[in-house]
Symmetry: C2
Subunit: 331 residues, 2 copies
Amino acid sequence: MKIIVDGFGGDNAPACVCEGAALAVKELGVSVSIVGDTDRLRSVFSEKGLSEDGIDFVPAPDVIGMEDEPTEIIRSKSDSSMAVGLRMLKEGKGDAFVSAGSTGALLVGATLIVKRIRGVKRAALAPIIPSIEGNYMLIDCGANVECRPEMLVQFGVMGSVYMKRMMQVKEPRVGLLNIGTEKSKGTPLQVESYPLFEEAPFHFVGNAEARDIPFGGFDVVVSDGFSGNLVLKLTEGLAGALIGEIKGIFKKNLLTKLGAATVLGPMKEFKKKMDYTEVGGAPLMGISAPVIKAHGSSSGKAFFNAIRQAADYARSGMIGEIESTLAKKEA
Amino acid sequence: MKIIVDGFGGDNAPACVCEGAALAVKELGVSVSIVGDTDRLRSVFSEKGLSEDGIDFVPAPDVIGMEDEPTEIIRSKSDSSMAVGLRMLKEGKGDAFVSAGSTGALLVGATLIVKRIRGVKRAALAPIIPSIEGNYMLIDCGANVECRPEMLVQFGVMGSVYMKRMMQVKEPRVGLLNIGTEKSKGTPLQVESYPLFEEAPFHFVGNAEARDIPFGGFDVVVSDGFSGNLVLKLTEGLAGALIGEIKGIFKKNLLTKLGAATVLGPMKEFKKKMDYTEVGGAPLMGISAPVIKAHGSSSGKAFFNAIRQAADYARSGMIGEIESTLAKKEA
C-alpha cells in the first residue's frame, strides 16, 4: 500500500506532513511518496531526525496556494505538488492521495485529473463530524454550492457506502438536512429531494434538523454544499468558542483551578471526542481513486490520521460498490 | 403601556404565561391583557396566588395549534387567542403583542391582520443570539425560506435599527451570512446581495462566516430564512449538547463532583449567557406594530423577558425609523 502525500499543502507544511508520513510508515506499515521541493523535504527529515525508511521524495517545483484560482491547478500550477500528486494517483503510482492544500484546487484537480467514478454527477467534500453519540458524515460541505435533487441522492448513496465500509455501521441512517421534520419543509431542493430519498438505495430516516444533529441519530447527513458548509463551520466555531469559555472559567481563581484539575482527564477525552482531526480528513467522495482533504491547520498527528484514513479507504472496496449501486439504480 | 399576551401559545401555556404577565406588571409597571379561555386563566391566577392588579382577561374561545396550517389563523381559527390578540393590536387596544404559539401562524396573522410597515417587502423572524462577545440579531430565521437580494437589504436595515434602538449599539456591524469572506462566495443570492449591501444605509462589515459568528464581531447577521434557521437551530442544539456533556463529566465521580462545585457559580453565569430566553423572544421585524415570538418552551421568566422586550420595542420609535430609512432609500 502506497499513499501519495502533498508535501506543501496546509499551514504547517512541510514539517507536519513529514512527521505524519514518518509516523504512518512506522505505525501502519504503508509506504509514502511525499511530493514537493525534495531538498526542503529531506532537510526536514534530517532536522527532525525522522527515518526515511518507506518514504520516497517526488519532485514538484511549484505550490498552489490558497490565493490561486482553483482552475490554475491544470494551467499555470500544473507543476505544483498537488497536481503532480494527483497525476501519480491517476497513473497508479500510489493507492490514495492526501493534501491539506486549497480545497477548491483539490476538487478541480481530482475531478479533472483523476476523474469521477462512472455515473457520479458531482464529487462532494464530506468530513466526518463528531456528535455526542459518535460521528456522522456531512456530505456535501462546499464542493457544490448549488445542487439538484439527483445530486443529493447520489451523496446519500456515497455517504452510506462510506459509513458502512469505513466505520462498520451496519445500516447507516441517512438524513436530509432541513429546517423541520415534515416532508413539506425547506426550499424546493429539499421538498423535491424527499420523495427521491424515500425510493433511494439507502436507509433514509427523514429530515435531519440542525438542532438534533449534534446529539446523534444520523450516520450520514446530506446537504447542498452551501448549507453543509454552514453546519461544518458553525460546529467548528461554536465548539471552539464554548470550550474556550469553559477554559476561561477554570482559570478564574485558585479554587476553580483546583476544580479544573479534578476534571482534567475527562475534559481531555471530551476535547478529543470533539476534535475532528482525530478521524483524519474529509474524503472527496465520488472520485475514482481515494482523495483525502486534510484540514488546513493539520498537525503531524492529523496528517498521520489522514494517511491512515486514506489507506483504509484504498482497502475498503468502496469505489466499486458506489459504481455498482449507482448503475443498479439507473438500470 | 399595555402589552397583549397570547394566553394559550407555547408548551407551558397558560401557567407560565400568567406567571410572566403578573411579574411584568409588578416589575415593569406595564399593564397586560391576556387573551384566551378566561375561566382557565383566572383559575391559574388564583391557584398560583398571583395578583390580578394591572391584568385584564380577554376572551377567545379557540386556540391555534402547532399542527394547524398557519393560514387557518384568518379562516377556521380566527377566534383563536392568537388571532384575537393580533386584532386587538391592530385596533390599538395595546402597544405590543407577545405569543409563544406557532411561528408560522404568528407570521401569517401578523402580516395579514396587523400588516407590514410601509415599504417592507417581507416580515422576518429575528432572534437575538448569544455570542462570546455579546449578542447578535440573526435575521431572517425561517419566515422566508427563499429570498431575493432586495429582501436581504431590508433585513439589514431593520436589524441595524433594532440593535441601535434596543441594544444601544452605536453603529451596528452588519454581516452577510456566507461560506467565505470573498465577494464572489456563496450562491447567486449572496453574490448579488454583496454589492447592494455595500451601498446600503447601514454599516456593512462584509460576509459573516459561520465559524466566526460565535466569537462575536457582528451585531446583525443577515440571511435567507433557510440558512438562518440552520444557524439558529444548530446553535441551540450544539450548545445544549456540549453543556450536557460537560455536566456529565462533572458527575463522573466524587472528585469531579467536588471539582464541579468550585466552578458552579461561573458555570451558571456561562449558562445564563448562552441562554437566549434571557433576552426575551424573537421580534417579527417589519410588522407595523411590535410583535414578539416567545420561545415555544418559554418559562415564566422567559415570558417576563419577552414582555419587557415588547414594552421596550413599543417605546423605541423603531418602526418610524425603519419606514423613513426605507423611504429615503427608495427616493
